[in-house]
Symmetry: C2
Subunit: 221 residues, 2 copies
């Protein structure tokens, strides 16, 4: 289970300490994204910040704690999109919401590229990532159901379940795949959005499909 | 560039040595799949085999060489599917070919789950993985074009390109996603095949779609 007591302990820090914590988390995020969680030690992070390992340890007791705090930030950044499922009834609302959430995912991309390492090494973080992913599938299902109800999308039951799965799969794994293909630009959030819109395309009613092809086309320029 | 001289040097080994090489590669594959490339050292592999590090070094000079040889095996196992693109004109040929190639991918799954690490650490292997992935996209495009020509699939031009991309993306990244969702069974090759068939579904002509739903349904039992 998540250790809330530990997480809330941040409140004990004063303003200067909070700034230091922010600097540490920002550097950690940068290094994790660039080099992967496995390779970056807490000593390395301290070193990059010109800080003693003891000072870093005062703020974060281990690499696992750093990952937990970054996960917490990702969750908080994604919350608006997770909660917007019920209000998205038009295609361009959905598209905007997708695009913005892909920007968040790209910002914390180490979580998805290093997911195997995280699941193995830090089971508590793994559990948190799983729950977040399952919530995202739930949100995607709600959005697709609403689009179907408002006549934008023609799909039902199992089709909606499969679509919701594929939307979240594409959103979370696309940046790994695009790096594999060596397409530097392809890891841009827009390209992930393009591929999610492509998944929806065959299920859209005709006039909406034309509109979506217009939206998708903008990503390819 | 790939060092063919090095690769062909395997021929210098006698039969007993070839068996030792096989044992080393099999143990390496097992450990890479279970624990990830980053964590498993060559000393650890030697240790698991009850072999001296020097003996392992005689056969493989570094972790990178081990990865290269495993990649070579993956490529050779995938060759029949890569070459079958032109002969696949019916839905169940394609389904069988997909299913069998997913079994191969699952066998060497560390390559896809650790792709970021491999691209960073072993650029020569990264290049090889990229070329293999681009060939797979090419094969998928050929298969989809053939299915369209034989009237099984209704898609053209850009739709076929997008489909080919998404088929290879799903094939190579699905096992990572299914582990993220903690669905042990979901990493089975059948589940990946189910999701690729789902991608094709909306593009199939009606009687073929019914047949495919029957094929897909078998994976969910």
């Amino acid at each position: 289970m998540w250790d809330f007591k530990y997480l809330q302990s941040a409140e004990k820090y004063n303003e200067a300490e909070m700034k230091t914590r922010d600097r540490i988390l920002e550097m950690t995020l940068k290094l994790f994204n660039e080099e992967g969680v496995a390779k970056v030690s807490t000593n390395r992070i301290a070193d990059e910040l010109g800080m003693s390992p003891g000072n870093l340890y005062y703020h974060f007791k281990s690499k696992e704690h750093l990952v937990e705090w970054l996960l917490r930030r990702l969750e908080s950044d994604l919350t608006p999109f997770m909660q917007s499922g019920d209000t998205l009834v038009a295609l361009d609302d959905m598209w905007l919401s997708l695009h913005l959430s892909f920007e968040v995912i790209e910002k914390y991309r180490f979580i998805y590229t290093d997911v195997d390492f995280l699941l193995h090494e830090f089971p508590r973080c793994g559990e948190r990532i799983r729950n977040m992913t399952l919530s995202a599938v739930e949100t995607a299902r709600t959005v697709c159901s609403n689009l179907a109800r408002s006549g934008v999308l023609k799909a039902e039951g199992a089709e909606i379940d499969d679509l919701a799965f594929q939307i979240v799969f594409t959103s979370t794994c696309w940046s790994t795949f695009s790096r594999l293909l060596s397409q530097q630009d392809a890891s841009a959030p827009g390209y992930a959005a393009y591929h999610v819109l492509t998944l929806l395309s065959p299920y859209l009613v005709e006039d909406q499909r034309h509109y979506m092809n217009y939206l998708r086309g903008k990503y390819l320029k």
